[in-house]
């Protein structure tokens, strides 16, 4: 095994991430306006932007989901307990002792177990809460009727709001995590140019050099 700088976030993945980030920030800003937390823009503008951006994000998610399953990248998000404790111990103790981050990215495991669990949680719990409740709300607003569901049920709004607040918490921690270790820029760069240090097996290294020469850089510091 040896460390190499390789392409871990392909162009689509980076595009997905930043479009999603932009969309979520926009949706939070307009969503909080619709909720009545601030009045920086008019209600009308907020609703228009919120609805349009949400529709766009749903399309993006459709592509992303398709991509995750057809490329096999879903494997990065599979929950595992292997090594989880070491990560938890590092963030709550080791980090204050000057220890190095215990996790080495692997070719098919680019996220540490805690990170993977957090992203999976966002993907399978918070996001569906948002879009399912959002679509039901839209469906009801757009004139759909279910027996006994004539009004906008407050429960739908409740779930939507709850998910939004959960997403704010995720964002806070997500951003803070970037400052840990080698620093903010170091952590953000891979999501811009796609390259990060990964512990490769001999076979993986040989495969990349033979079949994806553009995805591996020699100046690895491992």
């Amino acid at each position: 095994m040896s460390m190499h700088r390789i392409m871990i976030y392909t162009r689509f993945e980076r595009l997905w991430h930043w479009l999603q980030a932009g969309a979520i920030l926009t949706l939070l800003f307009t969503g909080l306006r619709i909720h009545g937390i601030h009045t920086l823009i008019s209600f009308e503008t907020a609703v228009n932007i919120h609805t349009a951006v949400a529709t766009g994000l749903l399309v993006l998610w459709a592509f992303a989901t398709f991509w995750l399953f057809t490329t096999g990248n879903w494997r990065h998000y599979m929950p595992t307990r292997q090594g989880l404790w070491r990560i938890v111990r590092f963030y709550s103790y080791g980090i204050f002792q000057g220890e190095h981050h215990p996790y080495r990215k692997a070719f098919w495991r680019k996220h540490n177990p805690l990170q993977a669990a957090a992203y999976l949680g966002v993907k399978v719990v918070i996001f569906p809460m948002v879009w399912i409740s959002g679509l039901i709300y839209l469906y009801l607003v757009l004139g759909g009727t279910w027996t006994g569901l004539v009004n906008f049920p407050p429960a739908v709004a409740l779930v939507h709001t709850l998910a939004a607040f959960a997403l704010i918490l995720f964002l806070m921690i997500h951003l803070y995590m970037l400052t840990i270790g080698k620093g903010f820029i170091h952590h953000v760069t891979p999501m811009i140019d796609g390259f990060d240090e990964v512990d490769l097996s001999v076979v993986e290294e040989a495969y990349l050099e033979a079949d994806e020469p553009g995805h591996i850089k020699d100046n690895a510091d491992g």
Binding site: G36, F43, E44, Q97, G98, V150, N151, A157, T161
Partner: protein, 537 residues
């Protein structure tokens, strides 16, 4: 390639021209007309109208000699019957039965109130029943010189009502009949409740020729609609009665060739009235399901300079100065005219202009408090209780003028009463100023029990706000309702974004956010602190 482009341009130009020419050739003009039907007869040439008529009934006889079904038709109309049987609620409604919270009751006061009954020769407790007494002219006069006076004289104290009117030139009026215009309907409907715009709030004398800012449909600068453009007629019966209102039209414009007897916005504008093509319009069209068009498109009523009466207090009626009734006019309305704030025969008033409507769920049905309804006198009484709720899919949020009145009632039997206002006798309130006597007579004449005790109760009546549709740029902005405190405060039954939230959820969320921020801060400080210590050692 270039040649094809040129050819295409020429073709395009030609087709535009052709379109314009066809348009012009078929005479499609945007001419605004008050009446969809133009006339094929000049009434001044008819022999039967070449007489020197002396009275109204003589004119009516001439009218009916040609329009031989009109009499039978009009006698089925509520304007003639003054009675309406609501088959759904079983209630007997109409002016001959109801008590309102303005001048209280037409029944028993027909000698005055039947000034607005389409007949000649009414007396108290007696509306004419025969065709020859129909007044055709009040609706069909186009000269503007025709007028009606109260059918009987009443108390000598009311003689002022009959002063200084030019005699009617019956021949001139009879020869100039036509379809009813706004002023015809308005001669009664603008003055309901005893004065200009007193009753409805959205029907004032301004509506005879309203500026576009007051009513886009009826303004001569707008569509120039007559009332009958929306209140569709068939056989002298017309649609759009308040007694059973179409609160939610689910049919829309109907198929070509089908005449819909529906007085709804949707019957012209369709079920998705806002132009499609943007998120905004999509969102607005969704409101149609739960919000009446009028709620957003009539931002306020009593616009244009004429006030409406918003509050009436019968408790103070009957005060006199030197034994005589008097009037105070301490309200100056938008057009500069003074309006009553006190009148001995009626009590104290409040007037209002540009009034924000009262909003309520409404399915078109109302339950009236009639003279035989016994109520709980500790609570305000709804003269017409609005039916509907958010759970009822036939209901929408409607705007209303809510009239508040302290009205006389039978303090012992807890019911509303008929008051004998009009008459040349010593019991009529308008002249004698004794309410107990007037109520006793009103109830006796109607063969109803009266305890002898008159009390006053707070009443509300609700008048659907549906005229005075503003230009679209003056429609309500979202924030009028979608804000912490807005027009729909207390409407209930819906989750209104920006207005409604879950306080516990918001509170929990903010605490969670604060705790997370705190945890991050502590973690960061510990990192810095530990790092500094390591560097030291």
């Amino acid at each position: 390639m270039k040649r094809y482009v040129q050819l295409l341009q020429i073709l395009l130009l030609l087709s535009c021209f052709a379109g314009t020419i066809t348009w012009a050739a078929y005479g499609y003009s945007e001419e605004k007309t008050a009446h969809p039907i133009s006339t094929t007869a000049d009434h001044s040439q008819f022999k039967v109208l070449q007489k020197d008529f002396k009275t109204g009934p003589e004119v009516t006889e001439a009218c009916l000699s040609c329009h031989n079904q009109a009499g039978k038709q009009i006698m089925k109309n509520i304007h003639w019957t003054w009675s309406y049987h609501n088959k759904k609620t079983g209630q007997l409604l109409g002016k001959e039965h109801l008590i309102n919270n303005f001048c209280s009751n037409a029944r028993g006061n027909e000698g005055m109130c039947a000034q607005c009954h389409i007949s000649y020769g009414a007396k108290n407790f007696k509306l004419p029943k025969t065709q020859d007494k129909i007044d055709c002219l009040v609706c069909h006069d186009t000269t503007g010189s025709y007028y009606r006076l109260p059918p009987t004289k009443g108390s000598p104290a009311c003689s002022i009502l009959f002063a200084g009117k030019k005699p009617i030139d019956w021949k001139q009026v009879a020869q100039n009949v036509g379809m009813p215009g706004r002023a015809n309907c308005g001669s009664c409907h603008f003055y309901g409740g005893g004065g200009d715009n007193v009753k409805h709030g959205d029907l004032s004398s301004i509506m005879a020729n309203p500026p576009k800012s007051v009513d886009v449909h009826m303004s001569p600068d707008g569509q120039n609609f007559a009332c009958t453009a929306c209140h569709m007629t068939r056989n002298h019966l017309w649609s759009g009665s308040r007694y059973q209102l179409l609160a939610k039209d689910t049919k829309g414009v109907g198929k070509p060739g089908f005449r819909r007897m529906a007085t709804s916005c949707e019957s012209c504008h369709g079920l998705t009235p806002h132009p499609k093509g943007s998120v905004k319009h999509l969102m607005l069209n969704t409101h149609v399901k739960r919000v009446a068009c009028q709620s957003c498109h009539i931002p306020a009523f009593a616009r244009g300079g004429v006030a409406t009466r918003t509050f009436w207090d019968w408790r103070t009626a009957g005060r006199t100065k030197n034994g005589k009734g008097f009037m105070e006019e301490d309200y100056t309305q938008g057009n500069g005219e003074k309006r009553e704030t006190y009148w001995s025969i009626k009590g104290n008033f409040k007037n209002g202009e540009n009034v924000v409507p009262y909003y309520a769920w409404f399915n078109g049905e109302t339950i009236y408090t009639t003279v035989d309804t016994h109520f709980d006198p500790t609570k305000p009484v709804d003269i017409n209780h609005l039916e509907g709720s958010s759970e009822d899919s036939a209901s929408r949020i409607w705007p209303f003028k809510r009239m508040e009145t302290w009205l006389q009632y039978d303090k012992k039997y807890n019911n509303l009463v008929y008051t004998h206002l009009w008459g040349n006798d010593d019991e009529s309130f308008w002249g004698n100023f004794n309410l107990t006597k007037a109520v006793a007579r009103g109830m006796k004449d109607a063969n109803l029990p009266f305890s002898g005790q008159v009390g006053f109760i707070k009443t509300y009546s609700y008048w659907p706000t549906t005229h005075m549709v503003a230009p679209k740029e003056n429609a309500l902005a979202c924030m009028e309702c979608h804000s912490a405190s807005g027009r729909l405060d207390g409407i209930g039954g819906i989750y209104l974004a920006s207005h409604d939230r879950f306080p516990w959820l918001d509170k929990t969320a903010w605490i969670a956010i604060a705790l997370t921020a705190l945890a991050i801060l502590i973690h960061m400080l510990m990192r810095l602190f530990a790092g500094a210590r390591r560097r030291q050692s």
